[in-house]
């Protein structure tokens, strides 16, 4: 072989299947990645491995009978799913919630945001290759929140706590003191976490400027939640279209600039702090009284349609419910946050390395239960 021949080795891209069974696809997601060595030329998402037909199942259940199924959508944050569906049905049926119910809903939704961001940040850092330490520490804190949920509704994963017209039951007496204690602990935990990771050189090298999602793409793809806010889109339904009693609380919407993985990580940390602020205010201002409006067990909303949405931990989660004046929804469509946030993944990972694909994918924070429904 002459020198020139040796210099012109023939190389060609190859296709590598990430998933459906892979440690870092956060479920049964599959990416067909075309690689040139380590560089990602293209990826093609393949979805549907976890499709359970939840939207169709809604048509065969009563309105309240569908609430447990919403738990199974984004199983990292079931409280928000419950709430989003209940908001839609209440809008459709024109039901007014007692104040204490609304406050409890806000507290649960924000606790859920904390728990979700713990999982999101932990698994993101795990995807960056930090060997389970940040993951376990974040899960330790999530455990405390799950304990609180357990206290409230007896469940640790699929809460089924919200009801049409309020929440299923009032919180036990020991809940609010325990919650106050948790707020103090959680603040310290975030500080500790930040001290470990905020300036970590390897983390900065792995995430700064990596997987940039531009503001335009974020808006065009309909991306919402922390992912959009990291790209500089100041859009938060809690401010833009306040539902429940969010208009009574003071809090900020952290917005990033660069739209890279690091900003997405930072936004989540900042959101955790804001959530703590909201919870503290809600605990202070929570009124007494009933927690659930006087709604019959079988709701029969008038003919019509309604779209209820809220700022779920992952972004805008919406339920579009159509009623034909029967006891079951005629149609129920879900706007899945994870699926829509995932649409820009291809643009974000092109040209980066295999390791970045995993890190960027982790920084979007998806749940497969919601992507495939």
């Amino acid at each position: 072989m002459t020198t020139t021949e040796m210099m012109t080795f023939k190389t060609e891209p190859f296709v590598l299947n990430f998933g459906p069974v892979h440690p870092s696809t956060h479920g049964v997601y599959r990416m067909r990645a075309t690689l040139d060595g380590e560089v990602i030329l293209d990826i093609e998402p393949v979805m549907g491995y976890l499709h359970r037909g939840i939207e169709k199942l809604a048509e065969e259940r009563t309105y309240s009978g569908f609430i447990p199924l919403t738990d199974r959508l984004d199983y990292i944050s079931p409280m928000s799913n419950n709430l989003a569906y209940c908001l839609a049905v209440e809008k459709l049926a024109g039901i007014k919630i007692p104040e204490r119910g609304d406050y409890l809903r806000v507290i649960m939704a924000e606790l859920q945001r904390l728990a979700n961001h713990c999982v999101a940040v932990g698994s993101f850092l795990n995807d960056c290759g930090a060997y389970y330490t940040p993951f376990m520490h974040a899960f330790r804190e999530r455990e405390k929140i799950v304990d609180l949920f357990d206290m409230v509704c007896g469940q640790r994963l699929t809460y089924n706590y919200m009801r049409i017209g309020g929440v299923s039951q009032d919180v036990p007496d020991e809940f609010l003191p325990a919650l106050k204690k948790l707020i103090g602990q959680f603040d310290r935990f975030i500080d500790e976490y930040e001290r470990f990771l905020k300036q970590n050189e390897i983390l900065l090298a792995r995430t700064k400027g990596v997987g940039v999602l531009s503001k335009e793409t974020a808006i065009n793809c309909g991306i919402s939640g922390p992912v959009a806010r990291a790209s500089g889109v100041s859009f938060d339904l809690r401010k833009v279209d306040p539902y429940s009693v969010y208009d009574r609380f003071q809090f900020d919407i952290p917005v990033g600039e660069a739209g890279d993985s690091y900003d997405r990580y930072r936004i989540r940390i900042e959101e955790m702090r804001q959530s703590l602020l909201i919870i503290a205010q809600a605990v202070k201002g929570i009124p007494g009284g009933p927690v659930r409006a006087d709604v019959p067990h079988i709701v029969r909303p008038p003919k019509g349609e309604a779209y209820g949405h809220l700022e779920a931990p992952k972004g805008e989660l919406g339920f579009y419910v159509v009623s034909d004046d029967s006891i079951a929804p005629y149609r129920c469509h879900i706007r899945p946050t994870s699926l829509i946030n995932l649409t820009a993944l291809r643009e974000m990972v092109k040209g980066w390395k295999v390791a970045d694909l995993i890190a960027i994918f982790g920084s979007i924070d998806i749940t497969m239960g919601e992507v495939d429904r």
């Binding site: 190859f14 590598l16 892979h22 440690p23 870092s24 040139d36 060595g37 380590e38 560089v39 990602i40 030329l41 293209d42 850092l125 795990n126 995807d127 960056c128 290759g129 930090a130 060997y131 389970y132 330490t133 993951f135 376990m136 520490h137 330790r140 970590n200 390897i202 983390l203 090298a205 792995r206 400027g209 990596v210 092109k350 040209g351 980066w352 390395k353 295999v354 390791a355 970045d356 694909l357 995993i358």
Partner: protein, 356 residues
């Protein structure tokens, strides 16, 4: 070797058996230490059910893995797939042949001991690459390629930092290097120690340089397609390598078997565990670097520093030919600090994204 009456063949037989036993037992102990320490650092317990304090967990794991079915992929290159674990394992045990457990207690006191280690330890890479290539799995192949790239790059700073130590000691025999260390070399060669530690971690796939088996990306890297005893061999290689690097660091930088009070071989083992604990600590603390950052770190940061360190050491040896005096410790610590500061200021990672 006044304490050892045996003749040549007895010596050979005794040490072969002892070495293999030592490696196997150390690996089991080290796995236990790693799992418990990692557990503590991650605010969980770690294995604590099998035997007292979970001490038999590695044994239970070993038994389990021995009973597992051996699966060879249909399209694998059978011969290469079979040979890879053996070729990866043999050199690691060979490394221990020249490491002194106490004064004169070693299989072969080669006068080029350290050269032997550097030469032999690289052979493991061939086994790893064979595993990646022979499995006909793309994850394995990617992992193996990463391993080869990393080992080729990190061999440079590793060897250069060793050369500096050899200059100070004036001998290449490991027994001689230990015997010469009245001041442990870690004090005389702080920069060399750091470079060797980093490069050593990269050579043996320890975090944060464990890209070859990055479980988040490549499932299990080069040994994705291995199961049963062959997988156990790779697991063994991984930890035997860690023990080997810890033993080399102990010998080169921590004055080997020397120490007050306790018997020398105990000092040797304690120091190995201390160095290994450092590795565990690193693993629990840092995220993993990317492949281009791995290369950049080797070539743009470690390599120049190792070169400068070599030159400075050579100069010092010229000035004080009869052994470095104690006050060089302060000079060298100052130099190491300044160099690392400057190096990290100048160090740029460079490209990360390619246009496609």
């Amino acid at each position: 070797m006044t304490w050892w009456p045996g003749n040549y063949w007895w010596h050979w037989l005794f040490f072969t058996v002892v070495l293999i036993g030592f490696v196997l037992v150390m690996v089991l102990m080290v796995i236990y230490v790693e799992r418990r320490a990692l557990g503590r650092m991650q605010s969980r317990l770690g294995p604590n059910r099998t035997g007292p304090f979970g001490l038999f967990q590695p044994v239970a794991d070993a038994v389990k893995i021995l009973l597992k079915e051996n699966i060879v992929p249909d399209k694998a290159d059978k011969l290469v797939h079979w040979l890879a674990p053996v070729i990866a394992f043999a050199p690691v045990v060979l490394i221990f042949a020249v490491i002194p457990f106490q004064n004169g207690a070693l299989l072969a006191d080669l006068n080029i001991g350290i050269l032997f280690i550097i030469a032999v330890s690289s052979v493991t890479t061939i086994g790893v690459f064979m595993a990646g290539w022979g499995s006909s799995n793309k994850y394995s192949l990617l992992g193996a390629m990463r391993n080869v790239a990393a080992v080729v790059s990190y061999e440079m700073p590793l060897a250069l930092s060793v050369v500096a130590t050899v200059l100070v000691a004036g001998t290449m025999s490991l027994n001689g290097i230990v015997a010469q260390q009245t001041i442990p070399n870690i004090l005389l060669q702080p920069l060399g120690f750091l470079i060797f530690f980093a490069a050593g971690c990269a050579e043996i796939n320890r975090s944060p340089f464990d890209l070859m088996e990055a479980d988040q990306e490549l499932v299990a890297g080069f040994h994705t397609e291995y199961s049963g005893m062959k997988f156990a061999m790779f697991y063994l290689v991984e930890y035997a390598e860690a023990v080997a690097i810890a033993a080399i660091i102990t010998t080169l930088f921590l004055s080997g078997w020397k120490g007050p009070g306790l018997p020398p071989w105990l000092w040797f083992i304690i120091k190995i565990f201390v160095v290994f604990f450092l590795m565990v600590w690193t693993r629990a603390t840092f995220p993993r670097v990317r492949i281009d950052q791995l290369m950049a770190f080797a070539w743009k940061f470690l390599f120049p520093l190792a070169l400068i360190n070599l030159f400075i050491t050579a100069g010092q040896v010229l000035i004080w030919p009869d052994g470095l005096p104690w006050y060089v410790i302060f000079i060298n610590f100052a130099i190491a600090g300044v160099l690392i500061l400057f190096g990290s200021k100048l160090f740029k990672l460079g490209w990360g994204r390619s246009e496609v």
